[in-house]
Point group: C2
Chain length 399, copies 2
């Protein structure tokens, strides 16, 4: 009656493990600025619920395993804006980007196979890769360098005979690092040279600031057979609770094999797919407004962070996260102090300590991630609290 | 750029692989009686859509990873009707019973571990177990014997040092075989003797006919730490397209570890959980009516099958399937004949050939499964067509 080795090797979410401590603080009336989670406060576009309310079939039957054809068509139209010509057979609708990632790793990874991932990484990647008995091979990145990873020599150094793929989140979570066209070319050439799959998680695609171009690895014809794109409505349309994403690939052999697993789980929820169909049809005006709001929040957050003495980070170009190096030895200890001891006007702040985002032991202890998902005033106040908390932490004798 | 060994070893759905041939027949105007899939025609209770339409939060945010607390509470209340006292921590809401099964196998199975399963089995179990690199160890059952499997000697014969668990669907898919209290006792004693987990897929729990008691393995206190129950709203409430199920266990260590994977995939869709909360609150009157309808369909279907010379089956006691041995050598060949050549009044019939439901090579070739999910008249006509199709098949020289 033992559990599997793989599940026992998994960690508990490093983002959620401080929640009980936060709940205790709230129970005593403390207000917490939650900069620790990527849950946007943007209103979900009303077409989502309106289209669901219009659903009038008497029997809520199984949908097709690949997804509702009208949702696939809506996604095809959306990607035409990126000069990509997709076909229904290239698209599998999934339960969020999360299920798409699980399906990809189960379909590509044999036990012990290695996946090249820039660290710090979105921590759930470790879970998805461990579920397939795979191993993360990290390419370490640095706050001083804006957490960039598209350097051929560093990527080359990570390759072994067990390397199966390179896995990218662009724009990046947790760093906000965004790839330039030149960077993407480096990744493509690297993958071709070593015959690797490219897993491109692009759920933050439209969150590109300062006039940066929005891109996709699906725009590179010379790697079309090795690229797998993950998309999702969660962040883009502030519909995290819908759990609708998709897996896109032009590789017919991959799609046929992924479908074997997808047929086993039957289908995604029909109503959510109906709502997602409407969301993918929204025009640029919706997202231009959202992007401007996030860019403002990023600017305010970055300015506030730079006011804290000793903070190291570059201004990130995309997504809605900033990861930075802090003037303390251990950001988990600092967070415990903020939640248990520090208060100003009965307020404190919460972030995600970065140690759990690294595969290399010992790294990330003095780093943290904030998500700029609150309005600009709240972001400024939250980061002000962080700075004052650090002062208090040091005054109390901590390093 | 190879695919994983596990995905390449998986089969395509043996139920769905004849769909293209059926589509061709329909394109020529042929009516097909679809007895091949478990998609009920019962109207989904209106409280499902009504409660979803009442959802009025502006931001469709991530739900809690274990599921909406109000849905957990609704499930707790439902199981009180089975004299079971569950706690929220015993319940993880999942994307259908399918995700629950995937999570269980990933959490229990090491590569090469064996799962005892009665054959014929619900074919997607093979996919779920292969996804975890596990192996099905079949206990063969027989049409002549009503596909019963709760025999201690036959179960004992399947045990090896790699046996990790016994996996049961009760009432059964594809056989409709239902366990008596004595049968359940045999399973419990067997699991205790060999220190095995009991995975009890009880999504057809209420589909018990002829006054049979509705049961759960959760009612056996002496195996409470080793029982894992799979539940789902799909069949019970004719809400297959909602994709809401759950995993239930009193084993805290298992639940804590399963939660590691569940947190990785974040949560289930909020709206569907809101709808499911209302469904679990429906009283017995809803289901008494549904059960009476299915019992009528079963009776009509069984009578019609017995009129076909050479058919071997016992009247099944639960679920909505009948598996039987047919007077032909190969039911896949017969199905091709029915779809391509046989017509009566421009009508034909479709069923699921059973070979894909067996792990033992060579078994099941002369068996098939029908689902009695159409109204009684259509079931009678569909099976009449099957009988006439067999006559024509033999008259054409097939065996």
């Amino acid at each position: 009656m033992k559990l599997s080795d793989r599940v026992q090797a998994m960690q508990n979410s490093p983002i959620r493990k401080f929640n009980p401590m936060a709940a205790e603080a709230k129970a005593t009336g403390t207000k917490i600025y939650h900069l620790n989670i990527g849950q946007p406060d943007i209103v979900t576009p009303s077409v989502f619920m309106e289209s669901i309310k219009g659903f009038d079939q008497k029997v809520l039957a199984y949908a097709e395993s690949p997804g509702l054809p009208e949702l696939q068509d809506s996604i095809i139209d959306y990607f035409k804006g990126f000069d990509m010509n997709l076909d229904r057979k290239d698209i599998l609708i999934t339960s969020g980007g999360s299920e798409a990632l699980t399906l990809v790793f189960l379909s590509l990874i044999n036990p012990g196979d290695e996946v090249i991932v820039a660290e710090p990484y979105y921590t759930n990647y470790l879970t998805f890769i461990q579920a397939a008995d795979g191993v993360i091979k990290p390419v370490t990145t640095y706050a001083e360098d804006g957490y960039k990873y598209a350097y051929m020599d560093r990527l080359e150094a990570a390759v072994t005979e067990k390397t199966k793929m390179i896995s990218i989140v662009n724009p990046g979570n947790p760093t906000g690092c965004i790839l330039s066209r030149e960077d993407m070319r480096v990744i493509c050439d690297f993958a071709k040279k070593h015959d690797l799959w490219i897993l491109a998680d692009e759920v933050y695609r439209e969150f590109a600031y300062d006039g940066r171009e929005m891109t996709s690895f699906g725009q590179y014809d010379d790697v079309a057979d090795r690229v797998i794109i993950i998309d999702s409505i969660s962040k883009r349309f502030s519909a995290c609770g819908a759990r609708i994403g998709c897996l896109i690939s032009k590789n017919a052999d991959l799609m046929a094999n992924v479908m074997k697993i997808a047929m086993g789980r039957l289908c995604c929820p029909t109503l959510e797919m109906v709502g997602a169909t409407a969301l993918y049809k929204l025009d640029d005006s919706f997202f231009n407004e959202v992007r401007a709001e996030y860019e403002k929040r990023r600017n305010v957050s970055y300015e506030a962070l730079k006011k804290i003495p000793g903070v190291v980070c570059e201004q990130p170009g995309g997504a809605f996260y900033i990861t930075c190096k802090m003037p303390v030895e251990n950001t988990e200890d600092l967070l415990v102090f903020l939640l248990k001891e520090f208060r100003e006007n009965n307020e404190t702040v919460m972030y995600a300590p970065a140690e759990g985002f690294y595969a290399t032991p010992g790294l990330g202890k003095n780093e943290l991630r904030i998500a700029y998902i609150l309005n600009a005033d709240d972001m400024a106040r939250g980061i002000e609290l962080l700075g004052k908390g650090i002062e208090a932490y040091k005054a109390a004798g901590h390093k």
